[in-house]
């Protein structure tokens, strides 16, 4: 593990960032808007930013023998690590729901989103939105946490849209139960991963640019 990530994990991170990864387990609940699990993972990450601000982490990091943009890199490394951990929890629950629990009646009669590859793709999109709206918004000042409010609005718009998408005629397949539409759903998962990678990369570049120009 590199020194930057180690610093994030041991000094800057809030314990809630780790604990909230468990919210990925919400994917097991029938009749629950399971995409909220992805939001809770990012809520845990948000606590690390509060923690970082209170402990003068940004200034401390900027004084270390690293380039200024590496301060941003450390924050992104940590966010990606937590997001992927949350994704793995959700992926494991999704596999369980699609296989071991596939005959549980409560999952068949579900007005909201089913746990399937499309759900996982959308979870990655929510993480991408967090990285874009909140993290790059934070690095506009390196102390102001208010971009999280904008993130809540955007994330919940995405969650509501994704949870309701299959009610639009012709789009039922995105939420289909079982493996009948697995190719389409896996394609959507890959698309979600591509969106996550693109949003995260662009946000990282933007955050570096912003952080280089601000005064600490």
């Amino acid at each position: 593990m590199n020194a930057l990530l180690r610093k994030e994990m041991r000094l800057s991170a809030s314990a809630l960032s780790y604990i909230f990864i468990i919210f990925g387990v919400l994917a097991i609940l029938p009749g629950y808007p399971i995409l909220c699990g992805a939001f809770f993972v990012t809520l845990g990450l948000f606590h690390s930013y509060q923690n970082a601000r209170e402990s003068n982490d940004i200034l401390y990091s900027a004084l270390l023998p690293i380039a200024k943009r590496d301060v941003v890199k450390g924050k992104f490394q940590f966010a990606i690590m937590v997001e992927l951990a949350g994704f793995l929890v959700m992926a494991a629950i999704t596999v369980v729901r699609m296989t071991v629990l596939d005959d549980v009646e409560a999952y068949h009669d579900n007005a909201l989103m089913n746990a399937n590859p499309f759900f996982l793709g959308m979870a990655l999109v929510v993480f991408g939105i967090f990285n874009t709206v909140f993290i790059s918004g934070f690095f506009r000042t390196a102390y102001n946490l208010s971009p999280f409010i904008t993130y809540i609005a955007v994330a919940f718009a995405a969650i509501v849209a994704a949870e309701a998408l299959h009610h639009i005629p012709g789009l039922e397949a995105v939420n289909a139960f079982g493996f009948d539409d697995i190719v389409l759903q896996l394609g959507l998962l890959i698309a979600g991963a591509a969106v996550y990678a693109a949003l995260t990369y662009l946000s990282y570049r933007k955050s570096c640019r912003r952080f280089e120009t601000i005064d600490l």
């Binding site: 020194a3 982490d57 401390y60 004084l63 023998p65 200024k68 280089e212």
Partner: protein
């Protein structure tokens, strides 16, 4: 030989301006950076560490521009500020353990020695330290990686007279080992004790940059102490 050079550094804020700040620091010398509160000492120091985005000017260490060589330069310099508390709820041991991984030249023995000298306990948290102990803690970090240049922003503020004396003796020892020190202060007795050179800043402008003896000669009047010179210069500048 100059190890640090600032050339025409400018930074404009709505209510304050750093105007063409230029000076250099010689190897193995202690330079006192004086000026009243708000004169631009901290802004200058921040520009020397790339913590603020200057409007123009260059900062070079060891002949290398800071921008573009940040990693190499910061390995060789140390910074300490007054009473800022880093990671108040972590133990000093945890902070040291994480920090040392960033430095190629981290010296465990020096770290242990300064912990002992400054009476710091690895199990204590910054939030449990007094302001004076926080200063010592910050200094311990700066001194533990064999920095060739130390930039210290009011390192003696909040220290009791005994600790201050101890610290100034540390400066003298470090100087003998070739370490270059720039420390800002408004406590002029600190300068009398160990400063070779003096840089005086007023309202964002460098008004004097010379050896301490030249400063006394060129700016002082018969029988004036350093403090009296400083106070008179400030009074004259306000007229």
């Amino acid at each position: 030989m100059n190890v640090v050079e600032l050339k025409d550094v400018c930074k404009k804020y709505p209510s304050f301006e750093l105007k063409n700040v230029s000076f250099s620091l010689e190897r193995g010398k202690v330079t006192g950076f004086i000026g009243r509160n708000g004169a631009g000492k901290t802004t200058t120091i921040k520009s020397m560490l790339n913590l603020i985005h200057t409007d123009s000017g260059d900062v070079c260490y060891f002949g290398l521009p800071l921008l573009g060589n940040e990693t190499e330069v910061k390995q060789r310099i140390g910074y300490s500020t007054g009473t800022v508390s880093w990671y108040p709820r972590k133990t000093l041991g945890e902070i040291i353990d994480v920090t040392k991984a960033f430095y190629d030249t981290w010296d465990e023995e020096a770290c242990r020695r300064y912990m002992e000298l400054f009476d710091l306990d690895a199990d204590k948290k910054p939030m449990e330290l007094s302001d004076g102990m926080k200063v010592k803690c910050n200094l311990m970090f700066a001194l533990s990686h064999g920095a060739e240049v130390l930039i210290l922003d009011e390192p003696t503020s909040g220290l009791d007279p005994f600790s201050r004396d101890e610290l100034l003796n540390v400066f003298t020892t470090l100087k003998e080992h070739g370490v270059t020190i720039l420390f800002s202060t408004h406590i002029t007795s600190d300068l009398e004790k160990c400063a070779d050179n003096i840089i005086y800043i007023h309202d964002g402008e460098i008004r004097a940059d010379c050896s301490r003896s030249d400063f006394m000669k060129d700016y002082g009047q018969q029988g004036e102490t350093l403090e009296e010179i400083f106070l008179r210069l400030e009074r004259e500048a306000r007229i």
